[in-house]
Protein backbone atom coordinates (compact mmCIF):
# COMPACT_ATOMS: atom_id res chain seq x y z
CA UNK A 1 0.00 0.00 0.00
CA UNK A 2 1.23 3.49 -0.81
CA UNK A 3 2.48 5.26 2.30
CA UNK A 4 3.74 8.61 3.50
CA UNK A 5 7.17 8.89 5.10
CA UNK A 6 5.57 9.06 8.56
CA UNK A 7 3.53 5.90 7.86
CA UNK A 8 6.69 4.08 6.75
CA UNK A 9 8.52 5.07 9.93
CA UNK A 10 5.55 3.98 12.06
CA UNK A 11 5.33 0.61 10.28
CA UNK A 12 9.03 -0.06 10.81
CA UNK A 13 8.96 0.84 14.52
CA UNK A 14 5.61 -0.60 15.58
CA UNK A 15 5.79 -2.39 18.94
CA UNK A 16 2.11 -2.59 19.82
CA UNK A 17 -1.36 -1.48 18.76
CA UNK A 18 -3.23 -1.10 22.06
CA UNK A 19 -6.41 -0.09 20.19
CA UNK A 20 -6.96 0.52 16.48
CA UNK A 21 -5.55 3.95 15.65
CA UNK A 22 -3.08 3.96 18.55
CA UNK A 23 0.52 2.92 17.94
CA UNK A 24 3.23 2.21 20.48
CA UNK A 25 6.58 2.76 18.74
CA UNK A 26 10.13 1.68 19.49
CA UNK A 27 12.19 4.84 19.92
CA UNK A 28 15.67 5.28 18.41
CA UNK A 29 16.69 8.42 20.29
CA UNK A 30 15.41 9.73 23.63
CA UNK A 31 16.72 13.24 24.19
CA UNK A 32 16.78 14.94 27.57
CA UNK A 33 17.36 18.43 28.96
CA UNK A 34 17.54 19.87 32.45
CA UNK A 35 14.05 21.41 32.61
CA UNK A 36 11.75 18.45 31.96
CA UNK A 37 14.03 15.49 32.75
CA UNK A 38 15.06 15.99 36.43
CA UNK A 39 11.48 15.67 37.61
CA UNK A 40 11.19 12.42 35.58
CA UNK A 41 14.42 11.14 37.13
CA UNK A 42 13.24 12.02 40.65
CA UNK A 43 9.90 10.32 40.07
CA UNK A 44 11.54 7.16 38.70
CA UNK A 45 13.88 7.09 41.72
CA UNK A 46 10.99 7.48 44.15
CA UNK A 47 9.21 4.59 42.44
CA UNK A 48 12.29 2.37 42.58
CA UNK A 49 12.52 2.43 38.77
CA UNK A 50 15.77 4.33 38.28
CA UNK A 51 16.83 2.46 35.14
CA UNK A 52 17.45 3.35 31.48
CA UNK A 53 16.49 1.13 28.52
CA UNK A 54 19.72 1.79 26.59
CA UNK A 55 22.31 4.43 27.60
CA UNK A 56 23.56 4.70 23.99
CA UNK A 57 20.14 5.76 22.76
CA UNK A 58 19.75 8.49 25.38
CA UNK A 59 21.26 11.92 24.72
CA UNK A 60 21.28 14.63 27.37
CA UNK A 61 22.21 18.29 27.56
CA UNK A 62 21.97 21.20 29.95
CA UNK A 63 20.77 24.03 27.73
CA UNK A 64 17.83 26.04 29.03
CA UNK A 65 19.62 27.81 31.87
CA UNK A 66 23.37 27.41 31.61
CA UNK A 67 25.67 28.06 33.37
CA UNK A 68 23.16 27.72 36.21
CA UNK A 69 21.87 31.08 37.47
CA UNK A 70 20.68 30.12 40.98
CA UNK A 71 20.33 27.23 43.40
CA UNK A 72 17.21 25.83 41.77
CA UNK A 73 18.67 25.66 38.28
CA UNK A 74 21.95 24.34 39.70
CA UNK A 75 19.96 21.54 41.34
CA UNK A 76 18.24 20.69 38.05
CA UNK A 77 21.62 20.55 36.31
CA UNK A 78 23.05 18.39 39.09
CA UNK A 79 20.17 15.89 38.96
CA UNK A 80 20.68 15.47 35.19
CA UNK A 81 24.48 15.33 35.48
CA UNK A 82 24.46 12.76 38.29
CA UNK A 83 21.92 10.63 36.43
CA UNK A 84 23.97 10.69 33.21
CA UNK A 85 27.05 9.56 35.13
CA UNK A 86 25.16 6.91 37.10
CA UNK A 87 23.80 5.32 33.94
CA UNK A 88 26.88 5.77 31.77
CA UNK A 89 25.12 8.06 29.28
CA UNK A 90 28.19 9.08 27.32
CA UNK A 91 26.41 11.59 25.07
CA UNK A 92 25.89 14.12 27.84
CA UNK A 93 26.78 17.76 27.20
CA UNK A 94 27.64 20.00 30.13
CA UNK A 95 28.97 23.55 30.49
CA UNK A 96 31.70 24.16 27.91
CA UNK A 97 30.28 21.65 25.43
CA UNK A 98 26.60 22.42 25.67
CA UNK A 99 24.24 24.19 23.33
CA UNK A 100 20.58 24.42 22.38
CA UNK A 101 19.40 20.80 22.12
CA UNK A 102 17.74 21.07 18.70
CA UNK A 103 20.85 22.61 17.19
CA UNK A 104 23.41 20.53 19.11
CA UNK A 105 22.03 17.00 18.61
CA UNK A 106 21.69 17.27 14.81
CA UNK A 107 25.25 18.55 14.45
CA UNK A 108 26.48 15.54 16.48
CA UNK A 109 24.87 13.28 13.87
CA UNK A 110 22.40 11.72 16.31
CA UNK A 111 19.39 12.09 14.02
CA UNK A 112 19.10 9.91 10.90
CA UNK A 113 16.45 9.38 8.25
CA UNK A 114 13.78 6.92 9.36
CA UNK A 115 14.48 7.38 13.06
CA UNK A 116 11.94 7.86 15.82
CA UNK A 117 12.92 10.63 18.22
CA UNK A 118 11.25 11.95 21.38
CA UNK A 119 12.10 14.64 23.90
CA UNK A 120 10.33 16.46 26.69
CA UNK A 121 10.38 19.58 24.57
CA UNK A 122 7.81 20.68 22.02
CA UNK A 123 10.40 21.82 19.48
CA UNK A 124 11.60 18.25 18.98
CA UNK A 125 9.65 18.50 15.70
CA UNK A 126 12.80 20.27 14.39
CA UNK A 127 14.48 16.91 13.73
CA UNK A 128 11.93 15.96 11.11
CA UNK A 129 14.21 17.98 8.83
CA UNK A 130 16.30 14.78 8.58
CA UNK A 131 13.38 12.60 7.50
CA UNK A 132 12.83 11.35 11.04
CA UNK A 133 9.60 11.17 13.02
CA UNK A 134 10.44 13.46 15.92
CA UNK A 135 7.90 14.66 18.44
CA UNK A 136 7.72 16.60 21.67
CA UNK A 137 6.24 14.79 24.65
CA UNK A 138 5.54 15.40 28.34
CA UNK A 139 7.48 14.18 31.35
CA UNK A 140 5.48 10.97 31.86
CA UNK A 141 6.07 9.96 28.22
CA UNK A 142 9.71 10.81 28.79
CA UNK A 143 9.84 8.55 31.86
CA UNK A 144 8.45 5.65 29.85
CA UNK A 145 10.85 6.46 27.01
CA UNK A 146 13.82 6.40 29.37
CA UNK A 147 12.66 3.21 31.07
CA UNK A 148 11.25 1.19 28.16
CA UNK A 149 12.30 2.88 24.90
CA UNK A 150 8.70 3.16 23.68
CA UNK A 151 6.16 5.92 23.16
CA UNK A 152 2.49 5.97 22.14
CA UNK A 153 1.15 8.05 19.27
CA UNK A 154 -1.98 8.20 17.17
CA UNK A 155 -1.49 6.68 13.70
CA UNK A 156 -0.08 9.52 11.60
CA UNK A 157 -2.33 11.79 9.58
CA UNK A 158 -0.33 13.95 7.19
CA UNK A 159 -0.82 17.44 5.83
CA UNK A 160 1.37 18.01 2.80
CA UNK A 161 2.74 21.52 2.36
CA UNK A 162 4.17 22.14 -1.11
CA UNK A 163 6.38 25.21 -1.21
CA UNK A 164 6.88 26.49 -4.74
CA UNK A 165 8.10 29.49 -6.68
CA UNK A 166 11.32 31.41 -6.10
CA UNK A 167 12.40 32.70 -2.71
CA UNK A 168 12.90 36.48 -3.08
CA UNK A 169 16.04 38.21 -1.79
CA UNK A 170 15.75 38.98 1.93
CA UNK A 171 13.12 36.27 2.51
CA UNK A 172 14.10 33.18 4.47
CA UNK A 173 12.73 29.89 5.82
CA UNK A 174 11.50 31.79 8.91
CA UNK A 175 9.37 34.08 6.74
CA UNK A 176 8.00 31.05 4.90
CA UNK A 177 6.96 29.17 8.05
CA UNK A 178 5.44 32.30 9.65
CA UNK A 179 3.43 32.79 6.45
CA UNK A 180 2.28 29.14 6.53
CA UNK A 181 1.22 29.39 10.21
CA UNK A 182 -0.69 32.59 9.44
CA UNK A 183 -2.47 30.75 6.64
CA UNK A 184 -3.42 27.58 8.55
CA UNK A 185 -3.61 29.08 12.12
CA UNK A 186 -2.13 27.81 15.40
CA UNK A 187 -4.67 24.97 15.34
CA UNK A 188 -4.34 24.15 11.64
CA UNK A 189 -2.09 21.10 11.94
CA UNK A 190 -3.12 19.76 15.37
CA UNK A 191 -2.58 15.99 15.55
CA UNK A 192 -1.05 16.04 12.07
CA UNK A 193 2.39 15.52 10.60
CA UNK A 194 3.37 18.46 8.37
CA UNK A 195 5.24 17.12 5.37
CA UNK A 196 7.20 19.93 3.71
CA UNK A 197 7.93 19.35 0.03
CA UNK A 198 8.39 21.11 -3.29
CA UNK A 199 11.25 22.83 -5.09
CA UNK A 200 11.88 25.43 -2.37
CA UNK A 201 12.37 22.74 0.28
CA UNK A 202 14.50 20.67 -2.11
CA UNK A 203 16.86 23.63 -2.49
CA UNK A 204 16.95 24.47 1.24
CA UNK A 205 19.99 23.78 3.43
CA UNK A 206 19.55 21.51 6.47
CA UNK A 207 19.62 24.64 8.63
CA UNK A 208 16.67 26.14 6.75
CA UNK A 209 14.76 22.85 6.84
CA UNK A 210 15.29 22.76 10.61
CA UNK A 211 13.85 26.30 10.88
CA UNK A 212 10.84 25.17 8.85
CA UNK A 213 10.21 21.99 10.86
CA UNK A 214 10.96 23.72 14.17
CA UNK A 215 7.80 25.78 13.98
CA UNK A 216 5.44 22.96 12.90
CA UNK A 217 4.38 22.80 16.56
CA UNK A 218 3.27 26.45 16.38
CA UNK A 219 0.57 25.26 13.97
CA UNK A 220 -0.18 22.38 16.34
CA UNK A 221 1.73 19.85 14.21
CA UNK A 222 3.04 16.66 15.80
CA UNK A 223 6.13 16.75 13.61
CA UNK A 224 7.47 18.63 10.62
CA UNK A 225 9.14 16.32 8.11
CA UNK A 226 11.24 16.63 4.94
CA UNK A 227 12.35 13.95 2.49
CA UNK A 228 15.96 12.93 3.21
CA UNK A 229 18.07 13.65 0.10
CA UNK A 230 21.58 14.59 -1.03
CA UNK A 231 21.59 17.67 1.23
CA UNK A 232 20.76 15.40 4.19
CA UNK A 233 23.41 12.85 3.19
CA UNK A 234 26.10 15.50 2.78
CA UNK A 235 25.28 17.02 6.18
CA UNK A 236 25.43 13.60 7.85
CA UNK A 237 28.36 12.26 5.83
CA UNK A 238 31.05 12.48 8.60
CA UNK A 239 28.79 10.25 10.74
CA UNK A 240 27.72 7.74 8.11
CA UNK A 241 30.84 7.31 5.98
CA UNK A 242 31.46 3.92 7.56
CA UNK A 243 28.00 2.74 6.62
CA UNK A 244 27.88 3.81 2.97
CA UNK A 245 30.45 3.62 0.19
CA UNK A 246 29.53 7.05 -1.10
CA UNK A 247 27.10 9.92 -0.66
CA UNK A 248 25.26 8.51 -3.71
CA UNK A 249 24.76 5.22 -1.85
CA UNK A 250 23.35 7.04 1.15
CA UNK A 251 21.01 9.08 -1.04
CA UNK A 252 19.77 5.86 -2.68
CA UNK A 253 19.21 4.21 0.70
CA UNK A 254 17.39 7.25 2.11
CA UNK A 255 14.84 6.93 -0.73
CA UNK A 256 13.26 3.95 1.06
CA UNK A 257 11.70 6.47 3.43
CA UNK A 258 10.28 8.83 0.81
CA UNK A 259 6.52 9.19 0.64
CA UNK A 260 5.09 7.20 -2.27
CA UNK A 261 3.70 9.33 -5.12
CA UNK A 262 0.20 7.99 -4.53
CA UNK A 263 0.31 8.17 -0.71
CA UNK A 264 -2.80 9.44 1.02
CA UNK A 265 -2.73 12.91 2.52
CA UNK A 266 -5.34 14.36 4.84
CA UNK A 267 -4.88 17.63 2.98
CA UNK A 268 -2.43 19.33 0.65
CA UNK A 269 -1.71 23.03 0.50
CA UNK A 270 0.52 24.83 -1.97
CA UNK A 271 2.37 27.96 -0.97
CA UNK A 272 3.96 30.02 -3.74
CA UNK A 273 6.60 32.19 -2.08
CA UNK A 274 7.58 34.24 -5.14
CA UNK A 275 5.81 37.37 -3.88
CA UNK A 276 6.46 36.85 -0.18
CA UNK A 277 7.92 39.78 1.74
CA UNK A 278 9.64 39.49 5.15
CA UNK A 279 7.12 38.48 7.84
CA UNK A 280 6.77 39.29 11.55
CA UNK A 281 4.27 38.49 14.28
CA UNK A 282 2.16 41.17 15.83
CA UNK A 283 0.21 39.94 18.86
CA UNK A 284 0.45 37.01 21.25
CA UNK A 285 -0.10 34.02 18.95
CA UNK A 286 2.29 32.75 16.27
CA UNK A 287 -0.45 32.98 13.62
CA UNK A 288 -0.84 36.73 14.15
CA UNK A 289 1.55 37.50 11.32
CA UNK A 290 1.90 40.55 9.11
CA UNK A 291 4.05 41.72 6.22
CA UNK A 292 6.89 43.57 7.91
CA UNK A 293 6.13 46.54 5.66
CA UNK A 294 2.75 46.86 7.41
CA UNK A 295 4.31 47.35 10.84
CA UNK A 296 7.20 49.57 9.81
CA UNK A 297 8.27 51.84 12.69
CA UNK A 298 6.84 49.72 15.54
CA UNK A 299 8.85 50.20 18.72
CA UNK A 300 11.37 47.63 20.01
CA UNK A 301 13.61 47.71 23.09
CA UNK A 302 15.61 44.52 22.62
CA UNK A 303 16.84 42.41 19.72
CA UNK A 304 17.41 38.71 20.31
CA UNK A 305 19.13 36.50 17.76
CA UNK A 306 19.44 32.84 18.71
CA UNK A 307 17.38 29.76 19.70
CA UNK A 308 16.57 26.39 18.16
CA UNK A 309 14.71 28.23 15.41
CA UNK A 310 17.37 30.67 14.21
CA UNK A 311 20.64 30.42 16.13
CA UNK A 312 22.56 28.47 13.46
CA UNK A 313 25.49 29.61 11.34
CA UNK A 314 23.48 30.64 8.27
CA UNK A 315 21.23 32.72 10.55
CA UNK A 316 24.23 34.51 12.00
CA UNK A 317 25.62 35.06 8.50
CA UNK A 318 22.33 36.59 7.35
CA UNK A 319 22.22 38.98 10.31
CA UNK A 320 25.90 39.89 9.82
CA UNK A 321 25.13 41.03 6.26
CA UNK A 322 23.05 43.85 7.75
CA UNK A 323 25.25 44.53 10.79
CA UNK A 324 28.58 44.74 9.00
CA UNK A 325 30.00 48.25 9.31
CA UNK A 326 26.93 49.53 11.17
CA UNK A 327 26.05 50.35 14.79
CA UNK A 328 22.86 49.39 16.52
CA UNK A 329 20.50 52.18 17.53
CA UNK A 330 21.04 53.79 20.94
CA UNK A 331 17.39 53.04 21.70
CA UNK A 332 17.85 49.26 21.70
CA UNK A 333 20.05 46.54 23.13
CA UNK A 334 21.13 43.55 21.06
CA UNK A 335 21.79 40.00 22.25
CA UNK A 336 23.27 37.18 20.20
CA UNK A 337 23.25 33.60 21.50
CA UNK A 338 24.92 31.29 18.98
CA UNK A 339 23.08 27.99 19.39
CA UNK A 340 26.08 25.68 19.91
CA UNK A 341 29.82 25.91 20.66
CA UNK A 342 30.72 24.82 17.14
CA UNK A 343 28.46 27.50 15.63
CA UNK A 344 30.11 30.01 17.99
CA UNK A 345 33.54 28.83 16.82
CA UNK A 346 32.60 28.93 13.17
CA UNK A 347 31.24 32.46 13.62
CA UNK A 348 34.49 33.48 15.32
CA UNK A 349 36.53 32.09 12.42
CA UNK A 350 34.37 33.87 9.86
CA UNK A 351 34.66 37.20 11.71
CA UNK A 352 30.91 37.22 12.41
CA UNK A 353 31.25 37.53 16.18
CA UNK A 354 33.40 40.63 15.65
CA UNK A 355 30.77 42.12 13.35
CA UNK A 356 28.12 41.62 16.03
CA UNK A 357 30.31 43.03 18.79
CA UNK A 358 31.45 46.01 16.74
CA UNK A 359 27.80 46.75 16.04
CA UNK A 360 27.15 46.81 19.80
CA UNK A 361 25.65 43.36 20.43
CA UNK A 362 26.22 41.39 23.61
CA UNK A 363 27.29 37.84 22.71
CA UNK A 364 26.29 35.16 25.21
CA UNK A 365 27.21 31.51 25.51
CA UNK A 366 24.98 28.99 23.72
CA UNK A 367 21.71 28.66 25.67
CA UNK A 368 17.92 28.77 25.23
CA UNK A 369 18.01 31.69 27.67
CA UNK A 370 15.80 34.56 26.64
CA UNK A 371 13.50 32.61 24.29
CA UNK A 372 11.37 31.47 27.21
CA UNK A 373 12.25 34.24 29.62
CA UNK A 374 14.52 32.13 31.82
CA UNK A 375 17.83 34.00 31.54
CA UNK A 376 20.13 36.13 29.35
CA UNK A 377 17.61 38.69 28.16
CA UNK A 378 14.33 38.68 30.11
CA UNK A 379 12.05 41.64 29.29
CA UNK A 380 10.62 44.12 31.78
CA UNK A 381 6.90 44.91 31.86
CA UNK A 382 5.92 46.86 28.75
CA UNK A 383 9.12 46.08 26.83
CA UNK A 384 9.20 44.72 23.30
CA UNK A 385 11.69 42.36 21.64
CA UNK A 386 12.36 41.72 17.96
CA UNK A 387 13.28 38.07 18.20
CA UNK A 388 14.33 35.18 15.98
CA UNK A 389 12.70 32.68 18.37
CA UNK A 390 9.49 30.70 17.93
CA UNK A 391 6.87 31.91 20.42
CA UNK A 392 5.28 35.28 21.06
CA UNK A 393 2.96 34.07 23.83
CA UNK A 394 1.88 36.50 26.53
CA UNK A 395 4.72 36.73 29.06
CA UNK A 396 6.96 34.35 27.10
CA UNK A 397 10.14 36.47 27.36
CA UNK A 398 9.18 38.06 30.68
CA UNK A 399 5.97 39.09 32.40
CA UNK A 400 4.24 41.93 30.59
CA UNK A 401 6.69 41.84 27.69
CA UNK A 402 5.90 41.41 24.02
CA UNK A 403 7.77 39.54 21.31
CA UNK A 404 7.73 40.04 17.53
CA UNK A 405 8.96 36.89 15.80
CA UNK A 406 10.96 37.43 12.62
CA UNK A 407 13.96 36.26 10.62
CA UNK A 408 17.56 36.99 11.69
CA UNK A 409 17.85 39.45 8.79
CA UNK A 410 14.77 41.35 9.95
CA UNK A 411 15.90 41.29 13.60
CA UNK A 412 19.30 42.67 12.61
CA UNK A 413 17.57 45.42 10.61
CA UNK A 414 15.44 46.32 13.64
CA UNK A 415 18.59 46.66 15.74
CA UNK A 416 20.08 49.20 13.33
CA UNK A 417 16.88 51.17 12.78
CA UNK A 418 15.83 51.02 16.45
CA UNK A 419 12.37 49.90 15.36
CA UNK A 420 10.78 47.30 13.11
CA UNK A 421 11.71 47.91 9.51
CA UNK A 422 11.95 46.25 6.10
CA UNK A 423 15.41 44.61 6.15
CA UNK A 424 15.78 44.60 2.38
CA UNK A 425 16.88 48.23 2.31
CA UNK A 426 20.10 47.20 4.07
CA UNK A 427 20.94 44.67 1.39
CA UNK A 428 21.53 47.19 -1.42
Amino acid sequence: MASTIAEKIFASHLRDTPTPGDAVLDIDVVMCHEITTPIAITDLMEKGMDRVFDPDKIKAVIDHVTPSKDSKTATQAKILRDWARRHNIKDFFDVGNNGVCHALFPEKGFIRPGYTVIMGDSHTCTHGAFGAFAAGIGTTDLEVGILKGVCAFKEPVTMRVDITGTLPVGVYAKDVILHIIKKITVNGATNKVMEFAGPIVDRMSMESRMTLCNMAIEAGGTCGICMPDRTTAEYLWPFIDDKYESVDDAVKDFKQWHSDPDAHYDSTITIDVSDLVPQATFGFKPDEVKDITDIEGENVDQIYIGSCTNGRIEDLRAAAKVLKGRKISRNVRGILSPATPSIFNQALEEGIIKIFMDAGFCVTNPTCGACLGMSTGVLAEGEVCASTTNRNFNGRMGKGGMVHLMSPLSAAAASIAGHITDPRKYLQ
Binding site: P18, G138, T140, L147, G220, G395, R396
Partner: protein
Protein backbone atom coordinates in the same frame (compact mmCIF):
# COMPACT_ATOMS: atom_id res chain seq x y z
CA UNK B 1 -11.44 4.42 39.67
CA UNK B 2 -10.77 8.07 40.55
CA UNK B 3 -13.83 10.36 40.90
CA UNK B 4 -13.95 13.17 38.36
CA UNK B 5 -15.90 16.41 38.69
CA UNK B 6 -16.58 19.50 40.77
CA UNK B 7 -17.45 23.18 40.38
CA UNK B 8 -16.58 24.45 36.90
CA UNK B 9 -14.69 27.56 35.87
CA UNK B 10 -15.02 28.87 32.29
CA UNK B 11 -12.05 30.05 30.30
CA UNK B 12 -13.84 31.43 27.28
CA UNK B 13 -11.06 31.66 24.71
CA UNK B 14 -9.45 29.54 21.99
CA UNK B 15 -5.76 28.60 21.90
CA UNK B 16 -4.89 28.99 25.59
CA UNK B 17 -1.25 27.93 25.70
CA UNK B 18 0.83 26.21 28.38
CA UNK B 19 2.99 29.31 28.95
CA UNK B 20 -0.21 31.03 30.12
CA UNK B 21 -1.12 28.06 32.32
CA UNK B 22 2.29 27.98 34.00
CA UNK B 23 5.06 30.42 32.93
CA UNK B 24 8.50 28.99 32.15
CA UNK B 25 10.17 30.81 35.05
CA UNK B 26 8.46 28.34 37.41
CA UNK B 27 9.80 25.29 35.58
CA UNK B 28 12.84 25.36 37.83
CA UNK B 29 10.73 23.90 40.63
CA UNK B 30 11.47 20.25 41.29
CA UNK B 31 8.18 19.39 42.97
CA UNK B 32 4.63 19.51 41.67
CA UNK B 33 3.20 21.12 44.82
CA UNK B 34 5.54 24.12 44.52
CA UNK B 35 3.68 25.07 41.30
CA UNK B 36 0.35 25.53 43.12
CA UNK B 37 0.25 29.35 43.58
CA UNK B 38 1.18 30.08 39.96
CA UNK B 39 -1.80 28.53 38.18
CA UNK B 40 -2.90 30.43 35.04
CA UNK B 41 -0.76 33.37 36.11
CA UNK B 42 -0.21 34.77 32.60
CA UNK B 43 -3.64 33.95 31.13
CA UNK B 44 -4.52 36.58 28.56
CA UNK B 45 -8.29 36.81 29.19
CA UNK B 46 -10.23 39.93 30.05
CA UNK B 47 -11.66 39.96 33.58
CA UNK B 48 -9.83 36.80 34.63
CA UNK B 49 -8.24 36.85 38.08
CA UNK B 50 -5.86 33.99 38.88
CA UNK B 51 -6.35 34.73 42.60
CA UNK B 52 -10.15 34.47 42.49
CA UNK B 53 -12.14 32.17 44.79
CA UNK B 54 -13.86 30.83 41.69
CA UNK B 55 -10.55 29.39 40.50
CA UNK B 56 -9.55 28.22 43.99
CA UNK B 57 -12.81 26.26 44.34
CA UNK B 58 -12.86 24.87 40.81
CA UNK B 59 -12.61 21.14 40.09
CA UNK B 60 -13.26 21.34 36.35
CA UNK B 61 -12.16 23.70 33.60
CA UNK B 62 -14.49 24.30 30.66
CA UNK B 63 -12.91 25.99 27.68
CA UNK B 64 -12.74 26.39 23.91
CA UNK B 65 -10.61 25.00 21.06
CA UNK B 66 -6.93 23.97 21.02
CA UNK B 67 -6.51 24.14 24.78
CA UNK B 68 -2.95 23.58 26.04
CA UNK B 69 -1.12 24.46 22.83
CA UNK B 70 2.54 25.42 22.79
CA UNK B 71 5.15 23.99 25.12
CA UNK B 72 5.18 20.29 26.07
CA UNK B 73 5.57 21.07 29.78
CA UNK B 74 3.63 18.56 31.86
CA UNK B 75 3.77 21.21 34.58
CA UNK B 76 0.61 22.58 32.91
CA UNK B 77 -1.19 19.39 33.91
CA UNK B 78 0.44 19.16 37.34
CA UNK B 79 -0.50 22.72 38.26
CA UNK B 80 -4.14 21.71 37.73
CA UNK B 81 -3.64 18.44 39.65
CA UNK B 82 -2.20 20.16 42.73
CA UNK B 83 -5.06 22.65 42.61
CA UNK B 84 -7.56 19.74 42.67
CA UNK B 85 -8.64 20.24 39.07
CA UNK B 86 -8.64 16.83 37.40
CA UNK B 87 -10.87 17.43 34.38
CA UNK B 88 -10.67 19.79 31.43
CA UNK B 89 -13.63 19.91 29.05
CA UNK B 90 -12.84 21.64 25.76
CA UNK B 91 -13.89 21.84 22.14
CA UNK B 92 -10.46 20.40 21.33
CA UNK B 93 -6.96 19.96 22.78
CA UNK B 94 -3.40 20.34 21.64
CA UNK B 95 -1.90 16.87 21.21
CA UNK B 96 0.79 16.93 23.89
CA UNK B 97 -1.41 18.50 26.58
CA UNK B 98 -4.18 15.96 25.96
CA UNK B 99 -1.72 13.06 26.13
CA UNK B 100 -0.15 14.48 29.31
CA UNK B 101 -3.59 14.58 30.98
CA UNK B 102 -4.29 10.90 30.29
CA UNK B 103 -0.69 9.95 31.10
CA UNK B 104 -1.29 11.42 34.57
CA UNK B 105 -4.58 9.58 34.95
CA UNK B 106 -6.55 12.81 34.46
CA UNK B 107 -9.42 13.48 32.11
CA UNK B 108 -9.43 15.60 28.92
CA UNK B 109 -12.90 15.51 27.39
CA UNK B 110 -13.89 16.90 24.03
CA UNK B 111 -17.41 18.23 23.49
CA UNK B 112 -18.76 19.95 20.37
CA UNK B 113 -18.94 23.75 20.41
CA UNK B 114 -22.74 23.68 20.80
CA UNK B 115 -22.45 21.70 24.05
CA UNK B 116 -19.77 24.01 25.42
CA UNK B 117 -22.05 26.96 24.55
CA UNK B 118 -24.88 25.35 26.53
CA UNK B 119 -22.69 24.75 29.60
CA UNK B 120 -21.44 28.35 29.37
CA UNK B 121 -25.04 29.62 29.26
CA UNK B 122 -25.96 27.76 32.46
CA UNK B 123 -24.05 30.12 34.74
CA UNK B 124 -22.36 28.58 37.80
CA UNK B 125 -22.38 24.82 37.36
CA UNK B 126 -21.23 21.74 39.17
CA UNK B 127 -20.04 19.00 36.89
CA UNK B 128 -20.33 15.28 37.46
CA UNK B 129 -18.57 12.80 35.21
CA UNK B 130 -19.39 9.15 34.66
CA UNK B 131 -16.28 7.86 32.91
CA UNK B 132 -17.58 4.32 32.45
CA UNK B 133 -20.68 5.39 30.55
CA UNK B 134 -19.29 8.60 29.03
CA UNK B 135 -21.83 10.99 30.53
CA UNK B 136 -21.29 14.53 31.80
CA UNK B 137 -23.97 16.02 34.07
CA UNK B 138 -23.94 19.78 34.53
CA UNK B 139 -26.03 21.11 37.42
CA UNK B 140 -26.66 24.83 37.72
CA UNK B 141 -29.84 26.80 37.20
CA UNK B 142 -31.06 23.58 35.59
CA UNK B 143 -29.57 20.18 34.90
CA UNK B 144 -28.30 18.90 31.55
CA UNK B 145 -26.45 15.82 30.42
CA UNK B 146 -23.97 15.42 27.57
CA UNK B 147 -22.49 12.27 26.10
CA UNK B 148 -18.81 11.99 25.31
CA UNK B 149 -16.61 9.27 23.87
CA UNK B 150 -13.24 8.13 25.14
CA UNK B 151 -11.27 5.60 23.20
CA UNK B 152 -10.40 2.36 24.98
CA UNK B 153 -6.69 3.16 25.21
CA UNK B 154 -7.39 6.48 26.98
CA UNK B 155 -9.82 4.72 29.32
CA UNK B 156 -7.26 2.00 30.09
CA UNK B 157 -4.68 4.66 30.94
CA UNK B 158 -7.08 6.26 33.40
CA UNK B 159 -7.93 2.89 34.91
CA UNK B 160 -4.25 1.98 35.25
CA UNK B 161 -3.58 5.33 36.96
CA UNK B 162 -1.45 6.62 34.10
CA UNK B 163 0.94 5.63 31.30
CA UNK B 164 3.93 4.72 33.48
CA UNK B 165 2.00 2.09 35.40
CA UNK B 166 0.43 0.80 32.16
CA UNK B 167 3.71 0.66 30.22
CA UNK B 168 5.67 -0.84 33.10
CA UNK B 169 3.34 -3.80 33.15
CA UNK B 170 3.02 -4.26 29.41
CA UNK B 171 6.40 -3.47 27.79
Amino acid sequence: MKQFGGPAIFLDRNDINTDEIIPAKYLTENSKTALKPFILEDLHLEGFDPQSDELKNAGVIVTRANFGCGSSREHAVWVFEVNDINVVIAESFARIFRQNMFNCGMLAVELPKEDIDIILSMGNVDIDIDVTNGVITAKGAGEKTFNFTLNDFARELIQAGGWLAYADKKY
